[in-house]
Symmetry: C2
Subunit: 177 residues, 2 copies
């Protein structure tokens, strides 16, 4: 039940349309979550139906027509409950280490180049996040909200660093013999 809450957060930060949300998920929210536009539209429908958000008033019934949403008080309350809730951590879900482990049984085959490719992709993501940090948080006084956003961004950075260093070691050890 994280997607609706991720959407509520994003909408509180700034009222948006479905597509806009999709784009923001690829950027600032996507360090730890991702969602396709279909997921988002469906969820927006549910959230509207249950009275947590509403579409900003517009005349036409709108299909293929831009539709902005904003959070209602009940939506904010639900988000508060979620923040306060106690919930245990989940283990990650990345198939790559699994594939490496499979390779331990069926042989390395062509996996090392794939590991290197992933290392490069994670490195690119890392660079991008570091760029966000430089661009969006130039030193100086930060609001509480900005401090939290920066913390989350740094979490994303730490994770990507972890991937890069692990994959680098893996390629080294396996590629080198």
């Amino acid at each position: 039940m994280s997607l609706p809450h991720a959407i509520l957060t994003a909408l509180l930060e700034k009222p948006s349309s479905g597509l806009e949300l999709t784009r923001r998920f690829d950027r600032s929210i996507g360090y730890f979550w991702s969602a396709t536009h279909q997921q988002i539209y469906r969820e927006l429908g549910k959230l509207e139906e249950s009275g947590l958000i509403r579409a900003l008033p517009s005349e036409v019934p709108a299909r293929g027509r831009r539709k902005e949403y904003e959070v209602l008080p009940e939506g904010r309350r639900e988000l508060c409950r979620w923040v306060e809730r106690r919930e245990d951590p989940k283990v990650g879900r990345d198939p790559l280490p699994l594939r490496l482990r499979a390779a331990g049984v069926v042989g390395l085959r062509n996996l090392v180049p794939e590991l290197a490719r992933h290392r490069d992709l994670h490195l690119a993501r890392l660079r991008e996040y570091e760029e966000f940090e430089r661009r969006d948080f130039p030193g100086g006084a930060l609001t509480e909200q900005q401090r939290v956003q920066l913390l989350v961004l740094r979490g994303g950075i730490d994770m990507e660093r972890g991937w890069v260093s692990w994959l680098t070691r893996a390629v080294d050890e396996l590629g080198g013999g």
Copy 2:
């Protein structure tokens, strides 16, 4: 499509029953994947039906009765195809950073103790993995399969270290003021 392949890998390492697999998922495979026993039983059914694995012969039809599976040649081939496949990395899916970000909007409320709790849980997991490393990989010559398993384990360790350090910093910065 990772679960069936994770099961194939585990069964190749050692033919097992459903419950045994469930336990092994909580241990050596679980660094990057998890599965409940229901998921595993369902998947075992599918894999058997499509001829990738088979139940080791036993007289009685068996309900509530231990049932061992082994991988058939077609299953091994499928696993090879999976290892060779090109597949992009997925972003993580952990709700905690999302909740922190939500707290940036609705206020920190009681989140800091929850962050500390997660830090402790990740730390416990980290200790457990380190214990696995000490116990199952005492220095000396390793087979290729063991080297790969150790690499995967170290990936799990790196990720947990990342969590612990990030959560430590988060608790520090937010708790302290």
